[in-house]
């Protein structure tokens, strides 16, 4: 029931907005649907916490504590982003950067995007998972090119081609998985692609095939996670799309893709019985962190800057999952949550800042605290949070990850720390003059929608100082599900 609501509400929303998306009230409708989704997701979460994992509709969908918290997160951030996009898109429209038709496209695609992500999270069927993710790509491609500028077209094109090719690899991987599974589960359609079934028999699955499959799945879905060197589309797509889309892309879509990678990892690890998948993840993680940290210098566009920082954080999370073990997984899940909250909050603030200055070039944004203190402080605090400075929560997860790394992978800890230090210098050095100093540009015409920003940052701060026991147990449960080699 809750599952149905969670999945169908956004679809309905997409349908409705496809017709009325250009109306004056469309943003409110959008927010309303997101709210409804959030409520449904909340109900679902409560249900799962109450009576554990569940399978619905002939096992086609299933919910356990791993994906339910991502569902809740997705719905929540989706809602706050919708709130933020209200004034933001209004301003865009008033400036004539988007026409009525595109507003319609924007709103309906926004809901569709939410729907696809929720499907990808909730489905039990690897095939459906693939379809949903591909659909997510398709629904966002047109949003990235919403402004029809040369740059946005180029970004969208790269996004499409790279992710399309990537996802094709993933399909090949899925086929191989099916190929390996059907012998055991019979070729009578669906069974052989159900994750729960596969998980049950993963020990008997053919190691060679699964190894091969994992490579394709990793490369495929990894492209969407934005792991270096498959990341090339990410900075462009994040920088050129409308800011709310950037927020959900880097706040949510990356998480979903990573979620799928982890699901696959669980299967493959079980079958191979070796640490190889974990090592691959760690390798990608380290590479992403280091390279992204270096890319952070030389950035001129503020949204690009934070796009790279998303790559860096995805690297950290991937590394943590690669290490495995209760603590690392716990930390990785925590970091996923915190990164989504913080990064989307930053993008909200950035959006307003960019609108205020009329450009995304950092050199032209100065002295935010003087004219719009809330925007300035939002950006400053968000940046500090994402850089992993206490008391904000991101530090908590990084702390756990690093201390665990020092126990299990001592070689990696210095690399990670160096990268984090470099990233700190790069990002903070560029954000500080934007927030402080002599102001330029004018005040914002509309009052900025900063409730989302400060709600997010408040949560992040809270999680840094106090993680309520129920949440902790929930994470523990999820971490246990992912597990790792003994």
């Amino acid at each position: 029931m809750e599952v149905a609501a969670t999945l169908l509400l956004p679809l309905l929303g997409a349908l409705v907005l496809a017709f009325y998306g250009a109306r004056r009230a469309a943003p409110e409708v959008n927010a309303a649907f997101s709210l409804a989704t959030l409520i449904a997701a909340g109900a679902l979460t409560a249900r799962v916490i109450a009576d554990g994992p569940m399978l619905v509709w002939g096992e086609q969908f299933f919910v356990d504590s791993f994906n339910v918290f991502l569902v809740a997160l997705t719905a929540f951030v989706g809602f706050t982003t919708a709130l933020f996009s209200r004034p933001y898109m209004r301003v865009e429209r008033d400036h004539g950067r988007v026409t009525a038709r595109r507003m319609r496209l924007y709103h309906s695609m926004y809901q569709l995007f939410m729907a696809t992500m929720l499907v990808a999270l909730l489905t039990n069927n690897m095939g459906v998972m693939w379809i949903a993710l591909e659909a997510a790509t398709l629904s966002t491609v047109l949003l990235v090119s919403l402004y029809r500028t040369a740059a946005s077209l180029e970004a969208a094109w790269k996004y499409f081609i790279l992710c399309g090719v990537g996802i094709a690899q993933a399909l090949f991987g899925t086929i191989l998985l099916y190929f390996a599974a059907e012998k055991l589960l019979g070729a009578d359609g669906m069974q052989a692609l159900l994750w729960t079934r596969l998980d049950a028999i993963k020990m008997q699955l053919e190691p060679q095939v699964l190894g091969l499959a994992f490579v394709f799945l990793l490369v495929g879905y990894g492209t969407k996670v934005g792991l270096v060197p498959l990341h090339s589309w990410l900075p462009d797509a994040h920088a050129e799309g409308p800011t709310p889309i950037s927020a959900v892309l880097s706040g949510l879509l990356l998480n979903v893709a990573l979620y799928i990678v982890i699901r696959c990892k669980v299967l493959v690890e079980g079958s191979l019985g070796s640490a190889l998948p974990g090592q691959m993840l760690m390798g990608f993680g380290i590479l992403s962190v280091v390279i992204a940290a270096l890319f952070l210098y030389r950035q001129r566009d503020i949204k690009r800057l934070f796009a790279w920082s998303s790559i860096e954080h995805m690297g950290i999370i991937t590394f943590a999952f690669g290490m495995g073990g209760p603590v690392a997984n716990f930390a990785a899940l925590l970091h996923m949550t915190l990164h989504s909250l913080t990064k989307s909050a930053i993008f909200f603030a950035v959006g307003h800042a960019a609108q205020k200055a009329g450009t995304q070039m950092m050199d032209d944004i100065r002295g935010l605290v003087v004219q719009n203190p809330t925007v300035g402080w939002g950006l400053m605090l968000g940046t500090i949070a994402i850089l992993g400075v206490p008391p904000f929560g991101v530090f908590a997860s990084e702390f756990l990850i690093l201390t665990t790394a020092m126990q299990q992978q001592p070689w990696a800890a210095p690399l990670l720390l160096a990268a984090i230090g470099i990233a700190f210098a790069a990002i903070f050095g560029q954000v500080q003059p934007m927030v402080f100093g002599e102001p330029n540009g004018r005040r914002l015409p509309h009052p900025p929608a900063l409730i989302p920003v400060f709600v997010h940052l408040g949560l992040v701060l809270l999680l840094g100082l106090y993680i309520p026991p129920w949440l902790a147990d929930w994470y523990r449960g999820a971490a246990a599900l992912i597990g790792a080699l003994p």
């Binding site: 081609i161 094709a168 399909l171 190929f179 359609g189 091969l212």
Partner: protein, 212 residues
């Protein structure tokens, strides 16, 4: 029989790599589609599974009729029939392609040994086709030909699905087909947007977003 199809498929993708002109590429792509449909049919006949028939029909409809038609109309309306030059020169590409194929076979060899199906060796070929189309996408400079490469890759996947595993579950195949279709529509939209921006589909216009 199925192996023959496989061989043809491989041959066709080689032809694609070497082919310069866009229209010809589309023809080759159609041919691939036909081969694919045939091979699926063969498998269906061989195993007598119902959903393979559907799958064959679907393949035929999509890959032989819908997509080529769309592509042709696009190309005509964009007026890019005659352009399509490969970045590396053909022989080099061929040699690399050859290496890739060998690699793919080597990779698939132990696996197809495990296959219970009649169509053991095809997996390697499917993989080869996928990698070859990948190679083609890398070497092409025109948007259209890249897209065709992308679709060819999908063909390889379909073939893998059909031959190595007697096809994926129906639902999945429909989903995939739908996605591909949507993708092509989206691409169509793109072509026009890109062209109205840069009045050309040459990808070197799309190289402004970079770090250096």
């Amino acid at each position: 029989m199925i192996n023959l199809c496989a061989a043809v498929l491989l041959l066709l993708s080689f032809a694609m790599i070497s082919q310069r002109r866009t229209v010809a590429l589309v023809d080759l792509f159609t041919a691939q589609g036909v081969t694919l449909a045939v091979s699926t049919l063969v498998v269906a006949l061989g195993t007598g599974q119902r959903h393979m028939y559907y799958s064959a029909a679907l393949t035929f409809a999509l890959k032989v009729i819908v997509l080529p038609v769309i592509l042709r109309r696009l190309i005509r309306r964009l007026g890019v029939q005659w352009e399509a030059e490969s970045r590396l020169d053909v022989t080099v590409t061929m040699i690399i392609g050859l290496l890739v194929v060998i690699f793919a076979f080597g990779l698939a060899e132990p696996i197809s040994a495990l296959a219970t199906t009649v169509t053991r060796s095809t997996l390697g070929i499917a993989l080869a086709v996928v990698l070859l189309s990948f190679l083609m996408m890398i070497t092409r400079r025109k948007a259209v030909s890249q897209v065709i490469g992308f679709l060819a890759m999908e063909n390889g996947l379909f073939f893998a699905a059909a031959s190595a595993t007697y096809g994926m579950p129906m639902l999945i195949e429909f989903g995939i087909a739908l996605d591909v279709l949507v993708a092509v529509f989206v691409l169509g939209v793109f072509f026009f947007q890109i062209r109205e921006q840069f009045d050309s589909l040459d990808l070197q216009h799309l190289e402004s977003l970079k770090e250096k």
